[in-house]
Symmetry: C2
Subunit: 237 residues, 2 copies
Amino acid sequence: MGWVVECAIAKTNKHASRESGDTAEIVERPGGGISMIAIDGQGSGRAAKTLSSLLAAKAVALIKDGVRDGAVARAVHDHLFAFRHGQVSATLDIVSVDFRSRSVLVTRNAAAPLVIGRGELFETAPCVADPIGLFPLNRPAVWELPLEDRLLIVVGTDGIASSGRRSGMADFDVTGATRELNVASVPISILADGILAAAVARDEGRPADDMTGLVLGVRADESGAPIRRMTATIGQA
Amino acid sequence: MGWVVECAIAKTNKHASRESGDTAEIVERPGGGISMIAIDGQGSGRAAKTLSSLLAAKAVALIKDGVRDGAVARAVHDHLFAFRHGQVSATLDIVSVDFRSRSVLVTRNAAAPLVIGRGELFETAPCVADPIGLFPLNRPAVWELPLEDRLLIVVGTDGIASSGRRSGMADFDVTGATRELNVASVPISILADGILAAAVARDEGRPADDMTGLVLGVRADESGAPIRRMTATIGQA
């Protein structure tokens, strides 16, 4: 039995903010597999972007050195805490597929909902932890589950879950939106775009915060096709 | 005037080889912009993969620390030369868009052809240098050009250019293939897939070497849309 794993990240800025305070990356794991990382730096604009970019650099370097995800989260926290003295926070999400252990591993210092889909069933998983940077010896929430056909994981930064709040709406039901959007055979990238578009719409087209959505889809595949693809699209005004 | 930049990587293994000796990554640059990196480790299979993965980890970490591409190539070379004593080589390609300098920067220690497209005009650019790892103080070839509408860059690792050699064909005309495949409005990811597919076909469906193609497309865009997307698809047998 082979596997095909698809990852997609969709991301936008707070309205009228030139830079997003979120940084997101997709990197190959040296032991086989792939990791998505999202870091939401406290605040918005240039200072938040510099912070999240610096922390993402550290996380990416450690993952590519083969360090286990739980230790990466602890290291990024310790670094932030040591140099910003507990005065600056950030949220961290790492969603990995490890082909050696044949598992999906979610490692989080974030409180926004984590959606897990298994075929037609979608749930919000209780995998939350304090943001990094504020207290000594902070630890991530870790969730490991075996690869299975039609497994889907969706996590988003704060800006997605809290979209619509400005106009008094209840928090965005990301699980419900995923259930609606994840109709048969929709590509993972379209699902990620759809969730982001729904969040932007709840903010009436002017995002109240930086927004990043990460989507991971797993499919059983007879051939386990050896072709690997990566794409990125970025814009600048 | 805004810009939209699209990157795509398509990659496959040598036939009957479980792991590709090439490692490729796309990462965000801390100063604004994006970099694609491809490293082709000497040989194939697990040893080549370990080598290229280790060197890619170093390159990615340095780029994300804000180090300029030319210094990244020198550092990766020096590291390989210091620890493998000039006995192991690798090729390195870095294709970056830097939004601060509004330029495309190609940094190479590789001899496979570099294709540059400007609108309807496609050429093979003389941007080649020795592989890293073999001689002290090796330097990359560097090529910088300003962002322009409909600029297209294609580089591939050795396995693409030399496809078809086993059956006595002339080297793959990647420039010609790019000209043919790059019909109006074809997405960059489809172009990358098309070039890879053509190379695989020249090897009669059984690639004689690991193959990685990197494609970068630049478009002028009024809005410079702030949405950023990344995707990755990987398989395992």
